[in-house]
């Protein structure tokens, strides 16, 4: 077999070409363009019309950061992540551990847990609006304990409510990831822990948690990325990030500034800042992992 300059199987280039083109056109090019737009004075034009788009340095970033609504949205998403990420990790590991045994109705539980994950946000938002409205079922159950104004129109509770909603919605997927990771924890470790007289809680802490650490890293990272992408929930659940912008997310601001108010350059700057923030968090998480090892 002759190894050509294109490799042993040049046909591979042909077979993966559509996917490579797709990545280039839908990810690489827009990614570069997003950064480019964020450093230029950019306005929408009709196809074929060319207008000057001068380089403006960091003007768009200054505009974005000087906007109190944008600053608020970054604070909001931090509040969201602080609630959502730990809750997601703890609950999904707990439920995956509970599922990881020969128990009756195992399939029912497994499927039941990921039903919210496979359902459209738009659909489940509908029922949460109904459940958490001022005289909705949740407040009826809580009686005098219900917050006033109600959850989704309360400045303090709007963002935590959204964080809870997203935790609930995504948990099934993360349970599946942990279930897969639990299969890789050698059962001998549990046996020797039991021989050493470790109780169930001790062996969970000493065997399970270290055993699924790679999965925890992945779950944390994916939860952060999902959180950074938050849009549908503040748009629909709290009626456009209300009350008074307390549940607005950076992506919602991108939509409002970029599409509604026709400032794509400022919107692109918000997007770049958002991704920089995500990368920073992901990097911090890696450092934390390393220092633990």
């Amino acid at each position: 077999m002759t190894a050509s300059i294109l490799g042993r199987h040049p046909v591979g280039l042909l077979l993966s070409a559509p996917y490579a083109v797709y990545i280039a056109a839908v990810f690489a090019y827009p990614l570069g363009m997003a950064v480019w737009i964020s450093f230029h004075d950019y306005i929408f034009t009709a196809p074929g019309v060319s207008v000057p788009r001068p380089f403006v340095g960091t003007d768009n970033y200054t505009t974005a950061l000087a906007d109190p609504a944008v600053r608020q949205s970054f604070v909001n998403i931090l509040i969201f992540l602080v609630i959502n990420v730990p809750l997601t990790v703890v609950l999904s590991l707990l439920l995956a551990t509970a599922l990881n045994a020969a128990i009756p109705f195992r399939t029912f539980f497994r499927v039941g847990f990921y039903v919210p994950y496979v359902t459209a946000s738009v659909a489940v938002v509908g029922v949460w609006l109904f459940l958490f409205s001022s005289d909705g079922l949740v407040n009826q159950v809580l009686g005098d304990l219900a917050p006033d104004p109600s959850w989704l129109i309360n400045e303090k509770w709007a963002m935590p409510s959204i964080a809870l909603f997203v935790t609930w919605k995504q948990l099934g997927f993360f349970i599946l990831l942990y279930l897969a990771a639990l299969q890789n924890v050698p059962s001998e470790l549990y046996e020797s822990a039991a021989v050493d007289g470790a109780g169930r809680w001790r062996s969970f802490r000493a065997v399970t948690i270290p055993g699924v650490r790679p999965a925890t890293t992945l779950v944390t990272l994916l939860a952060i990325i999902t959180g950074a992408n938050l849009f549908t929930e503040p748009y629909l659940l709290t009626n456009g990030g209300g009350p008074s912008g307390r549940s607005a997310s950076p992506v919602l601001l991108m939509y409002q500034r970029g599409i509604e108010q026709q400032h794509p350059d400022v919107a692109a700057a918000i997007g770049v800042l958002l991704v920089a923030g995500v990368l920073l968090l992901a990097g911090a998480q890696r450092l934390l992992e390393r220092s633990r090892e």
């Binding site: 042993r8 280039l13 045994a101 847990f113």
Partner: protein
């Protein structure tokens, strides 16, 4: 082992199941209420308060059939694109050695961490302003046409198959295209269903992108039509929650039923490769 060992399991799982499934039960009950009843007893269906009026109302307001058809067309486009091009790419990435393979695989992993929302503005400029694809199926399909997670599933699947299988066919003088058609494709069938399930929920549930590029109501997928109804029209309806919940049931049903019917093909072992890899 000791009895009573699993009491905490049962409690955790049952509580979980109630929290996860009650909203869906309540969605159905609420969609059938003639007048909204948010009291505790309203959680149980009352025969004298049952009607299908909400379904009629939402159908009249947003045209359920038309928007369902739009959802089906967009989803089908993405699923077909993913199955055709995804299998090819997955096979090449797993079984073939060629220049650029490592780069492509690295790019594929890297794009998992790019929030799609960052790309929304440039994609909007490209697709709507550049190609003039607003209010078109192609415009809605394009950004999702090959699902990378499905490519990953295909790659993992082909990796598990022994290389010798393909080498033997090549030694017998089969061309690469022949190897793909007669050896790889017949073997990949079990992975097709998993990939279809994974791919389906993306475009079916997607809201932001089709919402941005469709202004014409006749082109909107159900998720967009329902969301617009929720944020604008609903306040004028006699039983807004009922109509919203009826629309929500119609939007949720296909995905939920598919995943219940084919649950065996969506288990952790399929995703496990993702954790290990």
């Amino acid at each position: 082992m000791t009895r009573g060992r699993s009491w905490w399991r049962t409690i955790a799982l049952t509580l979980g199941a109630i929290v996860f499934l009650f909203p869906f039960y309540y969605m159905i009950v609420g969609s059938l209420q003639a007048t909204p009843d948010t009291s505790l007893s309203g959680a149980l269906p009352r025969p004298d308060n049952l009607s299908l009026d909400n379904y009629r109302e939402i159908n009249a307001a947003i045209g359920l059939w038309r928007s369902l058809l739009n959802s089906v067309i967009v989803t089908a486009g993405v699923v077909v694109g993913t199955l055709v091009f995804g299998v090819l790419a997955g096979y090449a990435l797993a079984q073939l050695r060629y220049r650029g393979r490592g780069t492509l695989f690295a790019a594929m992993l890297l794009l998992q961490v790019i929030p799609f929302q960052l790309l929304v503005i440039p994609l909007y400029v490209q697709v709507v302003r550049g190609y003039g694809l607003a209010d078109s199926y192609l415009g809605m399909i394009l950004p999702f046409v090959i699902n990378s997670v499905a490519v990953f599933v295909f790659r993992q699947f082909f990796l598990q198959l022994p290389v010798e299988l393909f080498e033997a066919a090549r030694l017998d003088g089969a061309s690469e295209i022949r190897v793909l058609r007669s050896v790889a494709l017949p073997l990949v069938r079990p992975a097709l269903l998993t990939a279809t399930l994974l791919t389906f929920i993306g475009p079916w549930n997607e809201f932001l992108w089709p919402f941005l590029i469709t202004k014409e109501t006749g082109m909107q997928p159900l998720a967009v039509a329902l969301a617009n109804y929720m944020s604008t029209v609903a306040s004028a309806a006699s039983n807004p929650y009922g109509a919203i919940l009826a629309g929500a049931c119609v939007l949720a049903a296909p995905a939920v039923l598919l995943f219940i019917a084919f649950q065996r093909h969506f288990v952790s072992s399929d995703l496990g490769s993702g954790v290990k890899g």
